[in-house]
Symmetry: C2
Subunit: 415 residues, 2 copies
């Protein structure tokens, strides 16, 4: 890693691994298809944001006020660039800096999840730089006055990767009471208070140069609400979400089998139902509805997961994050130097266009981030360096391009 | 133009020049900023579509059923490819084929608007091919069994234009009664019927190769409802919408002045308030909220326009469509062969990325089209052939790139 640097616009808010409303459990939280297709879910609680228009400056206002015409208002604090990575982004009360080092809160799920994603970020970035050989990650560190912050790392125009982003962030926020009520399914409460929440996540998209080397995305997140002050006895709620999926432009069956078997092995250590359920959830979530195609060849995806032991789910998310390198790097090593033609590159660019369509139109984290005034460069680092849209392009039946498209339209069982 | 051809997937539904709900007049129809920033307006009447997932075929189902979870259901007929351009896409009762040639309906606004956009399509395509010198438009003609249809024309990889689409279409549809009630502002009616509507429009996006040559977009549309059968005395309603705007990557002040003065002259022939009002409306509409930037350097934009004489507005829309060639072609002639560097091209590609962001995230016609199952290739022909996203790109202050960005952030009065 390069030494820490303060950059002119070092403030950041991650790739937006979470949208607030996507993290509520509901009666359908275990039904993958219902949740996964609810791409507009983040609007469901009235978070239809209308940021103040900065008409007279190149910058953005210090406080972004979001007004929903319907039900609630949310204020998001402006990030502050930091010159150094802090030990932790947690508040003191959660075991953060200056907090008692041996306090029990240090072993809280919040604290352990943050440690896990910070370590995963370091390991993945190290592995990417080692394989790339030339590119180095540029790092932006930021914090928010009320607690929380993040580390964004981007490698651009490397030897192997066109664009690689690996972000972690910790957010302390407040959700409108309507959202909490909807989550609890409670009856109308005439005087509810806002509900504080904590969220932490890692999110990454890695776009290689070579058209035979797949794009990878992974994202693991933990979400917790404080018990509401005006509702004594109401429980603290928590959820895990995340997944790892990959997007080749060409199918090498051995690669797909390798990738999916690493995911399955990670899942099987915890519950035999996880892989089939999260594999289907992934196929359902990364669906470009207007094309009738998935973005890629899937992997695993889950959200709003809280119906298992909390320690077990923390261990599961940790295992998944640890599997990113063994699932992905061996494939890259095999494909990064394969010779290719302009035709292969053009097809990769068309598939990158599909990636853009999914992320801008459907991805919950992205659409939520855009609407709520997060740091745009961090949210949109998921977009590829280059993409292409040809009118009415149709691969020849039976061609390698057609086979990839067919697998995106008709998801397969690879194992 | 090339001879008419039937293509394997010749069915089409235009660049989607209209979204149903954007065409309702309302108390704020004359307030540009309110309407223009309501980018989610097409969801407001419950058109949140969930197309049937075609899991087992490469094609699309014959009938696309759209279910809103909230209030209404809409079925869209599948288009049928046609081998020949028909004289008209109007129903017989409106003066369509086999209808009495001299019937009064032939001079209806519907009929005259269709003739106007068909002629404009021919003239613009002819002018583009003449300047391009090499590229030819590929044409797709289609109809719907219940009436209506369209002509899509796309020129790709030409000498001057990277991608140029010019589409016309005529739609006979039925809107849910809730939409009509909302439009009328009437009190609740317990047994309303669906309201038939007619819409016709031309829509075009022209992306040149040379980074000094601007992208152009124009779009003119006419919308009419039939009087509802169960509400005797309820009036037939109608509206006009449209605009012409351009998107350079570099500012040549003489070009911008020329472009805007052609728009102003067209407006001034009808009402001195039109240019200032529609210029501002354009700046407000083509706003990429998450960037705090406009897509380009504007032009004119109006929607839901019905508070003037109908004949006057028909003449105004005709004048605007007729101005596309004199506003745009002289600029292209001057810029198409200018020498440029890789740096200029990369900046153009970044601005193309912004074009993609606006169209996929905010443009009403595009987002409505994607949600309602229109023909994707026709809707997304507005996207450029190639685009680029660099992490945290910031042009050097005072550079030519910075000047363009500044004008997109702080819209200027050019005349």
């Amino acid at each position: 890693m390069p030494p820490l640097a303060t950059l002119p616009c070092a403030s950041s808010s991650s790739l937006y691994p979470y949208s607030i409303t996507s993290s509520f459990p509901s009666s359908s939280s275990s039904s993958s298809s219902n949740r996964a297709t609810a791409s507009t879910a983040s609007l469901a609680f009235g978070f239809r944001a209308k940021p103040t228009i900065p008409t007279k400056t190149l910058g953005r206002p210090g406080i972004m006020t979001l007004n929903s015409p319907i039900r609630c208002a949310v204020s998001i604090e402006k990030e502050t660039p930091e010159t150094e990575r802090p030990e932790t982004f947690l508040r003191e009360v959660d075991g953060g800096r200056n907090g008692a080092a041996s306090s029990p809160s240090e072993s809280s799920v919040r604290a352990r999840f943050e440690r896990m994603i910070r370590e995963a970020q370091d390991r993945v970035c190290e592995a990417i730089e080692a394989v790339d050989g030339g590119g180095k990650f540029k790092e932006d560190v930021w914090s928010r006055p009320g607690g929380g912050g993040g580390i964004s790392r981007v490698l651009q125009d490397g030897a192997v990767w066109e664009k690689a982003g690996v972000n972690v962030s910790v957010v302390y926020g407040v959700m409108p009471p309507e959202a909490y009520r909807a989550a609890k399914g409670a009856a109308f409460d005439p005087k509810p208070g806002p509900v504080p929440f904590f969220a932490a996540g890692i999110s990454s998209v890695l776009h290689p140069q070579n058209p035979f080397a797949p794009t990878l995305h992974f994202n693991y997140r933990y979400f917790e609400t404080d018990a509401p002050k005006d509702a004594p006895g109401a429980p603290r709620q928590w959820w895990f979400g995340g997944g790892t999926d990959f997007t080749p432009s060409y199918i090498f069956e051995e690669d797909v089998k390798h990738f999916h078997s690493v995911q399955k092995n990670a899942c099987d250590k915890f519950d035999p139902s996880f892989y089939p359920r999260f594999k289907k959830w992934c196929d359902d979530y990364f669906y470009i509805k207007h094309r009738g195609e998935r973005r890629g060849l899937g992997g695993i995806f889950f959200d709003d997961l809280n119906d298992y032991d909390q320690e077990m789910l923390l261990a599961f998310a940790t295992e998944c994050a640890n599997c990113v390198i063994p699932a992905y790097i061996p494939i890259i090593e095999k494909r990064k130097d394969m010779p290719f033609t302009e035709k292969h590159k053009a097809w990769q660019q068309l598939r990158r266009g599909r990636y853009v369509e999914f992320n801008l139109v459907y991805d919950r984290g992205t659409t939520f981030g855009l609407k709520t005034g997060g740091r745009i460069e961090s949210i949109l680092v998921s977009l590829p360096l280059t993409a292409r849209w040809e009118y009415d392009h149709k691969p020849e039946e039976g061609s390698e391009e057609w086979k990839l498209l067919d697998a995106c339209i008709n998801p397969k069982e690879w194992l």
